[in-house]
Subunit: 366 residues, 2 copies
Amino acid sequence: MYSQKLLKPDGRALTLYSRQPIAEGLTAPSPSQEPVQANPHLRWHPLRGEWVAYASHRQGRTFMPPPQYNPLAPTTDPEFPTELPQGDYDVAVFDNRFPSLTQGANNPPNCIVETLPANGACEVVVFTQDPEASLGSLTLDHLDLLLQVWGDRTRLLGSIPQIQYVLPFENKGVEVGVTLHHPHGQIYAYPLIPPVCARMLEQQEKFYQEQGRGLLEDLIEKEIKDQQRIIYQDQYAIAFIPVCARYPYEVWLAPIQAVPSFIELSREQRQSLAKALKTVTLKYDGLWQRSFPYLMAWFQAPTDGNAHPEAHLHAQFYPPYRTREKLKYLAGTELAAGMFVNDALPEEKAKELQAVVVNLSEPVQV
Amino acid sequence: MYSQKLLKPDGRALTLYSRQPIAEGLTAPSPSQEPVQANPHLRWHPLRGEWVAYASHRQGRTFMPPPQYNPLAPTTDPEFPTELPQGDYDVAVFDNRFPSLTQGANNPPNCIVETLPANGACEVVVFTQDPEASLGSLTLDHLDLLLQVWGDRTRLLGSIPQIQYVLPFENKGVEVGVTLHHPHGQIYAYPLIPPVCARMLEQQEKFYQEQGRGLLEDLIEKEIKDQQRIIYQDQYAIAFIPVCARYPYEVWLAPIQAVPSFIELSREQRQSLAKALKTVTLKYDGLWQRSFPYLMAWFQAPTDGNAHPEAHLHAQFYPPYRTREKLKYLAGTELAAGMFVNDALPEEKAKELQAVVVNLSEPVQV
C-alpha cells in the first residue's frame, strides 16, 4: 500500500492511498478556503453517566446538495473545487470540514455540569473514485486495501495521546439520513471510550477473566456449530446474523480468531474479511434488487495504551428495514428504555440472506 | 377518578377511566375475535449484556390503516368494531393486540444464548375520545386525570410479582413511525429493569449514597439557578431543556421535589405537572405552527419490591427534528458508539421554545 499526505488550503489533511505509487505534485483542493472554525465541546450527562458532544457549527453543513456537484468526486472544474484532486489513487481520507471532535478544541463553556473540549478527530473515508460504486461492487483487492486503510488510520489516530478509541463506520442510504451518495464512510476518534464500546468491552473483559478466552470467539464457535444464521464462512472470517440480533437484518462480520484491532490483522484474515464484506453487502443489495441502506460500524480495541486481549475486531451492520416496505423505527422501548424489540426471528431473516446468490469474482453493477 | 374494567371477546382487558361514574352495561369490542396468540421471548445479548425481545407475530400488525377506520375511536359500525365502546369516559387502557411482552409467555426456544419467556405487559393508553386532540389541546383537568391513570397502571402492573419496571411513553408523528394518529400512548411493563433505566438508577443511587439527596433534584436546583433553559416553572413542577440535552429540542419535565413514581404524587404536584405537560406540548406545536413529533417517556422507580429513594419521576421528550426542515438521524456515533452529537446548544433551543406564547386556560385548536 502506498500513501501520500497533502494539506488542504483550509488547513485540513488529506491522505491518498493506492496499490501503486502515487505521482508527486498533486494539490489538495477544498470546497472552502476558510480555516475550519470548529470548536466543539463535551458536557457531562449526570443521569446517563456519559458525555454528549456539542458541535453547533454543524447546523449549516451540506445537506442534499444538487446532483451535479459531488464534493467527494475528484475536482474537474477548478471554479467548484471538491474535496479530492484528480490522480491515480484508490481510497482517500480527509479531515471532516464539520467535525464533532477536533484536535484544536479548547476553552469549553462554563456550565452547570462538567465540560471538556471535544478533542478527537472526525475523518471522511472515500472508498473509491467511482460515485456509482458500493462496497459490494468493489473488487476484493480494493476492499482489502480499504481494510488496510482503516488499519493505517487506527494506528495513526490511536497514536495521538488523547485518542482512546477509533471507530470506522459507514452510514448508507437516505433512510439513515445520508446526504452524499458517493461511497464513503467516516472515522470518529474519541478522547474517551464511548458508552456502548465501554459496555461491550466490560462484558468481554469479564468473560476473558473468567474463561481465559474471548466472548465473541465463544459466540462465533457456537454460531458455527449451530449453522442456522451463517451468511459467510471460510477458514479465517465469518459473517452471521447473531442469535441476539436487535435489528431484523443485523449482520456481524469478524475474523474467527480474536484479533484486537485492524492493526493486528494477518494478510489471510484481511483477505477473508474482504470476501465476507463483499458477500454481505452484495447479499444486502441483491435481497430486494436495490441499494440496501445500513449503518456499519467496526468495533475494536481502545487505543488507551493498555493491552486489550478481550477485544475482538468486528463489524456490526444495522439495516433500518424490517421488511421490503417497512422501516424499523426506534421508539419508546428502544430509545428510552434501551430494550430492543425485534419483530423477526434471526433464523428466518438469515434464510432470506442465505438464499441470495452472489458471485465474488464477477464485476457487479448495482 | 372512576374506572371500569371490561373483558374483550379475545380475552384482552379494557379499563375505562373518567371523572364521572361510568354507566354499567358497556361491552368491550375488539377488531379481532380470535384470542391473542403472542408468545414473545427474550434472548441474552452477551456482548451488550442485555436482553432483546423477539415478537415475530408483530410483523403483520396494523400499519397506516385507511383513514376511515380508526381502531382507537369508539365503535360506531358494529360490522367494524374498534378497540373502544361508545360511552362517557375520558381515558381508556387496553392490552396491546400485538404485545412484545405478555403475561402468558412460555416455552422460549432453545438457543445458543440464554432465553426467557418475555413475561410482562404492553398496554395502549387512549388519551381522549377526540381523534383530533393532542396532549396540548386537552384541558388541565383531563391531563391531571391522565397522570392519575398512569399512576393507577403503575400500581396495578407493578403489583404483578414478575414486573420490575413500568414505562409509560408516547410516540407521536409519522417521523417516529406512528401508525395511528388518534392521541394515545403505550405502557411497557418489563420483567427486568431495562438497560437505560438501570444505568440512570445506578448513577442516581451512587449520588444518593454520597450526597444523601437526589441527583435529578440536584440538577433541577442548578437549572433553576441558571434559568437559561427553563420552559415552565411553578412551585411544584418544572420543564427545561437539560444542559446535557442529546436531542436539539429535548425537554425534561419533573416534580421539583423528588417523588419516586406516579403513585406518590400529591394532588398539587400532579396539577402542576399537568400545567407543565400542557405548556411543553403547546409550545412544541406552536413553534412551527404544526403538530410537533416526539418520543415522550416517563422514568420512575422500579417495581421490584425494593425502596428507591434515589428515583425521581420525570418525563424526557426526544423530538426528531433539529430544525424546521431537518431531521436528526441517529447514525454511527449515536447508534453504534452511544455518544450523541448535538448540532445545537441547549441554551439556543431553549430561547426558541421560551419565545412561544401559550395560554393554558383557553381551548386550543392545533
